[in-house]
């Protein structure tokens, strides 16, 4: 199954060409969006995703769904990248070393259980 907008975006993130959608007011959104969720402006342009983000909140998940069965425990975090936030699995450190404000960069990884593409937040 392909997910219009998302798969292409995740590939771009993996090639260091991550982007977000920006409206004339400067609101950020992630694809697929046809209009700005904040102000409903219809003219959205691609803008480069900042290289570095910071963890705003995170959780160490010990009880996963079937599609993450091989990952337990894993850390999911929401990190701020300028005008957008990204939710991803934190890699490149031990779960206990993640804190709020940990600097991360976005990358495309692989979900070891399903083989699907995965948004990874790599500790910088």
């Amino acid at each position: 199954m392909t997910d219009a907008g998302y798969d292409e975006w995740l590939d771009a993130v993996g090639e260091n060409e991550g982007y977000y959608l920006e409206c004339p007011e400067g609101h950020g959104a992630l694809p697929p969006r046809r209009v700005c969720p904040e102000c409903a402006a219809a003219d959205l342009d691609r803008a480069a995703l900042p290289e570095s983000g910071t963890v705003e909140t995170f959780t160490v998940c010990h009880v996963a769904g079937p599609s993450f069965a091989d990952e337990e425990p894993y850390v999911t975090a929401i990190a701020e990248f300028g005008p957008v936030r990204l939710t991803g699995v934190v890699r490149g450190t031990d779960p206990e070393d993640v804190t709020v404000d940990t600097p991360v960069e976005a990358d495309k990884g692989t979900n070891e259980t399903t083989g699907e593409g995965l948004l990874v937040l790599r500790v910088r």
Binding site: D3, F58, T59, H62, V63, A64, G65, L86, E116
Partner: protein
């Protein structure tokens, strides 16, 4: 299950099934869990009715919207009698399957694909709350203990077991900082409420002292990452503002509350969103004894989702049924709110991407 709840509602209300004009049926994951879509007509058949029946889906707030639409249709004059509630069967699935099913209330691409489970999403909110306002796991343990205590005498509760703060803190982690006792259980259950117009109640000489006087609903971005802040729930604030205005009451006038505590942190976010506490102040409410049965404004006297159980698509209806019993004086915990006149119910979907609030008042 739904038939059993509907029969109880029929007996309680003494409204004959033939008078029911519409059935508003809440259900979240029946298509996944039971491979049965289109459940509403089936439920009508189960209770011996041929009236029009519609399924409402708004994740954990499914029955809340089913009730709200019943209220609206009666107020519009379209209907005089509506049966509203919901049903959910979950225990036939494995924990992993339930976890996966419940996670479909989140954003498929940006959250589920990144390993966000239902407990995980609330854990993200809990960490954001602690980081911004302070608070600790022990505060949440007091919420769990309170709700287990409240469920003890409730015959409809899933758990009749007291727990201690220590027990809650020592329980296995589900998704840090939330442990096993911070989470509501997996529940099979159903709820049914008969809502009637004032004219119908008067014409049929019904004993119906409790009225829904206010109704409100609010929304927010589906995914947490798209919200401005992670430690507040604007959908609840919007639903509450609408419901309070509708009923002509303020938060201060509310005597007791049933809130959507799918996780302990959710109760904290709810009592702040409903206007009973400023952001950052609700975390210690249970620990300070303000929301316990003997506190100034009891929260979740039924036991809440935490101990009464959370059959997802039925929960919003059970909150109305429990609040009605509490206000009427025939709930095992009514003794704690003998002089109460105004109750509020709060039902939330997903990570509060939707919220439904109702104000109930009793004639004393």
């Amino acid at each position: 299950m739904f038939a059993e709840a509907a029969l109880a509602a029929r007996t309680d209300s003494s409204v004959p099934v033939d008078d029911v004009e519409e059935i508003n049926y809440g259900n979240f994951m029946g298509s996944l869990a039971e491979r049965q879509g289109h459940q509403a007509p089936l439920m009508a058949e189960m209770i011996g009715s041929r009236c029009s029946a519609t399924r409402y889906e708004e994740a954990c707030a499914s029955a809340g919207v089913a009730i709200r639409e019943a209220v609206r249709s009666i107020r519009s004059g379209e209907n005089d009698v509506v049966l509203a509630g919901g049903c959910e069967r979950m225990t036939n699935l494995s924990t992993a399957e339930v976890t996966e099913g419940l996670s479909t209330a989140a954003d498929d691409l940006y959250e589920i694909r990144a390993g966000v489970t239902f407990p995980g999403a609330y854990a993200l909110m809990a960490r954001a709350y602690f980081d911004r306002f302070g608070g600790e796991r022990e505060d949440l343990a007091h919420v769990a203990m309170k709700n287990h205590d409240n469920a003890m005498p409730n015959e409809y509760a899933q758990f009749h077991r007291e727990i201690t703060v220590e027990e809650a803190l020592d329980a296995p982690m589900v998704s840090e900082p939330l442990g096993l006792f911070d989470a509501c259980p997996v529940t099979d259950g159903a709820s049914a409420v008969v809502l009637v117009s004032e004219e119908y109640a008067a014409a049929n000489d019904l004993d119906a002292p409790v009225s829904v006087t206010g109704s409100g609903q609010g929304g927010d971005s589906l995914a947490l990452q798209n919200r401005k802040q992670l430690a507040v729930t604007p959908a609840t604030e919007r639903a509450a503002a609408e419901a309070y205005e509708d009923a002509g009451v303020t938060a201060d006038a509310v005597d007791l509350v049933e809130v959507h505590d799918c996780f302990t942190i959710a109760e904290v976010l709810a009592i702040e969103g409903l206007g009973f506490y400023d952001p950052g102040e609700g975390i210690g409410a249970a620990r300070r004894g303000e929301t316990t049965a003997t506190g100034e404004r009891p929260v979740n006297l039924s036991g809440g989702l935490k101990a009464k159980g959370h059959p997802v698509g039925a929960t919003g209806g059970s909150q109305i049924a429990e609040m009605t019993r509490l206000l009427r004086g025939d709930h095992p915990n009514s003794e704690y709110v003998e002089n109460a006149t105004v109750g509020v119910t709060h039902n939330a979907g997903g990570t509060v991407a939707s919220a439904v609030v109702h104000v109930l008042e009793v004639d004393r």
